[in-house]
């Protein structure tokens, strides 16, 4: 009961924060229409000999969906550091609110935002002519959401160890690094060190989840699930410790 009321107000707060709402939801859409709109008749994006290429609106849709989901859940951390900057964390410590309820509400809020972001992108994709079989939509979305879990934990962790001033650069830098090394922007080709490294990063599996919609990519094997689980466990633990230790005066 109390957990529900608390989560409901957390959601309400998020939706009332107009600027945050705009950058989390509207911004990816604008980007999508700017990039995919002019290319809505391109069916051979990135074609090479022996590969007919992707339908451009589909390609950009899955890329932005994976990227947007990661950003949405990480951004939960920015909200936390903003709350900490006014000492709210200490105020919560004077209530019976448990760590678990607190985390659940934070993750839930981030996920609702991520889901809306994905849904809006899918809708926009459909408007530009993207058609996929139902099971592809589901498979892709399901795996994107699972792959976003470690990022939610990383976001919460950062929110509790970073000040509000350093949060912006930290989020920007870390998401960029994850995206770059995980092959969000440039596909990881060949074997070698970067391939091995990429497979240890949750962003790589996030990309693979999105690529399912492209007909490429791969449903995760044991390696993928293990990687996501490991990052989740480690950062959920660190986030919990950071939250519990975080009682200093501001």
């Amino acid at each position: 009961m109390s957990a529900l009321v608390y989560a409901r107000y957390e959601l309400l707060r998020t939706f009332r924060n107009v600027r945050f709402f705009f950058f989390s939801l509207v911004f990816p859409l604008v980007m999508y229409f700017l990039i995919a709109g002019p290319n809505k008749n391109v069916h051979d994006l990135g074609h090479t000999a022996g590969f007919s290429g992707y339908f451009a609106p589909l390609y950009y849709m899955v890329s932005l969906a994976a990227w947007g989901a990661m950003m949405s859940v990480m951004a939960g951390g920015a909200r936390i550091s903003a709350e900490r900057s006014v000492g709210w964390n200490r105020q919560l410590r004077l209530t019976p609110l448990t760590t678990r309820t607190y985390f659940r509400a934070k993750v839930l809020t981030s996920y609702v935002l991520a889901l809306i972001s994905i849904a809006l992108l899918y809708l926009s994709g459909a408007m530009l002519g993207v058609r996929l079989p139902a099971e592809k939509w589901l498979q892709m979305t399901g795996l994107i959401l699972v792959a976003a879990i470690p990022f939610a934990a990383i976001g919460i962790f950062l929110g509790h160890v970073m000040s509000i001033d350093s949060m912006g650069p930290a989020l920007g830098g870390i998401t960029a690094l994850f995206a770059f090394l995980g092959g969000v922007w440039f596909p990881i080709t060949g074997g070698g060190f970067f391939k091995v490294l990429a497979e240890c990063l949750p962003s790589y599996w996030l990309v693979q989840a999105g690529r399912l919609g492209l007909g490429g990519g791969q449903v995760w094997g044991a390696k993928g699930w293990l990687c996501i689980a490991a990052w989740t466990v480690v950062f959920a633990f660190l986030a919990m410790k950071a939250y519990q230790r975080d009682t200093k005066r501001v």
């Binding site: 109390s2 998020t14 006014v86 709210w88 004077l94 019976p96 005066r249």
Partner: protein, 266 residues
């Protein structure tokens, strides 16, 4: 109960430990026979911290409702709004409140759990005179229902006027504990003032019980270790003395003497 002391005396640290926000370096903290965390869990202890503000994007009513939902036996939102006198701003967004209003909403949040012990760290900082008055009226109503309020302050006047018991701290230690009158009495000096023109200060200093003499124009100020003896000797010797006032030491003098600190931060 007032926790009084100069800045750096350890008031906020004591309160942080009492609330379980800071572990003591040694020893244990017990509140109602429980660990601080457990006292918070059952809603026995509520607190308003010195620093901190409110989260944005909710109305005052929504914020209080959100906090109330976390406790086992809270006041209703309307009870808290009325008790703290903020019913008129219940619909306003938190980020649009003035400093004094924010402080009152923070107070409402401390009170919403309906605690047996309310801990307030410098509660009236940032309040205007009217808010401050309303605040102490609420406190009185709250304590008259059998609850305890502990507040830290460096305003001597507030401690003197509103506390039934004062604990005076300096450099992390308790230097006095008791009602304001008792703490003032520990200083052991009284002041006798009188209008007494053209008198030799040295002669006054020779009176029994006088420790120090000052003159201010036609007025004389005698610091006395035994004001009763002084008065008995003064009146026969100087029948022209008029406008005689005898006053005990102020809390300020006691404060300075007991904390051994020259600068009172007021």
């Amino acid at each position: 109960m007032a926790l009084l002391g100069p800045n750096g005396a350890g008031k906020s640290t004591t309160i942080d430990m009492l609330l379980g926000l800071l572990p003591p370096d040694s020893g244990t903290v017990s509140v109602f026979g429980m660990k601080p965390a457990d006292a918070i869990k059952v809603g026995a202890i509520g607190a308003m911290l010195q620093t901190g503000s409110l989260i944005r994007d909710l109305s005052v009513r929504e914020l209080i409702d959100m906090m109330a939902a976390l406790f086992p036996k809270p006041f209703t939102v309307d009870e808290v709004l009325n008790l703290t006198g903020i019913a008129d701003i219940a619909g306003r967004r938190v980020q649009k409140l003035s400093g004094g209003q924010t402080q009152r909403v923070r107070f409402a949040i401390a009170l919403v759990s309906n605690p047996d012990l309310l801990v307030l760290d410098e509660p009236t900082v940032g309040m205007d005179v009217e808010s401050r008055h309303a605040f102490w009226t609420t406190m009185r109503r709250f304590t008259s229902s059998g609850k305890t309020v502990v507040f830290a302050t460096h305003y001597l006047e507030e401690a003197d006027t509103y506390a039934d018991r004062i604990i005076l701290m300096a450099r992390g230690e308790v230097v006095a504990d008791g009602p304001a009158t008792e703490i003032k009495a520990t200083v052991g000096t009284r002041t006798v003032r009188a209008t007494l023109p053209g008198v030799d200060p040295a002669a006054l200093e020779a009176l029994p019980g006088v420790t120090h003499v000052e003159t201010r124009g036609e007025a004389v100020i005698l610091n006395c270790s035994d004001s009763d003896a002084t008065i008995r000797a003064l009146l026969p010797a100087y029948p022209q003395a008029r406008d005689i006032e005898i006053s005990g030491a102020g809390l300020e003098q006691a404060f300075l003497q007991l904390t051994g600190n020259g600068d009172v931060d007021e």
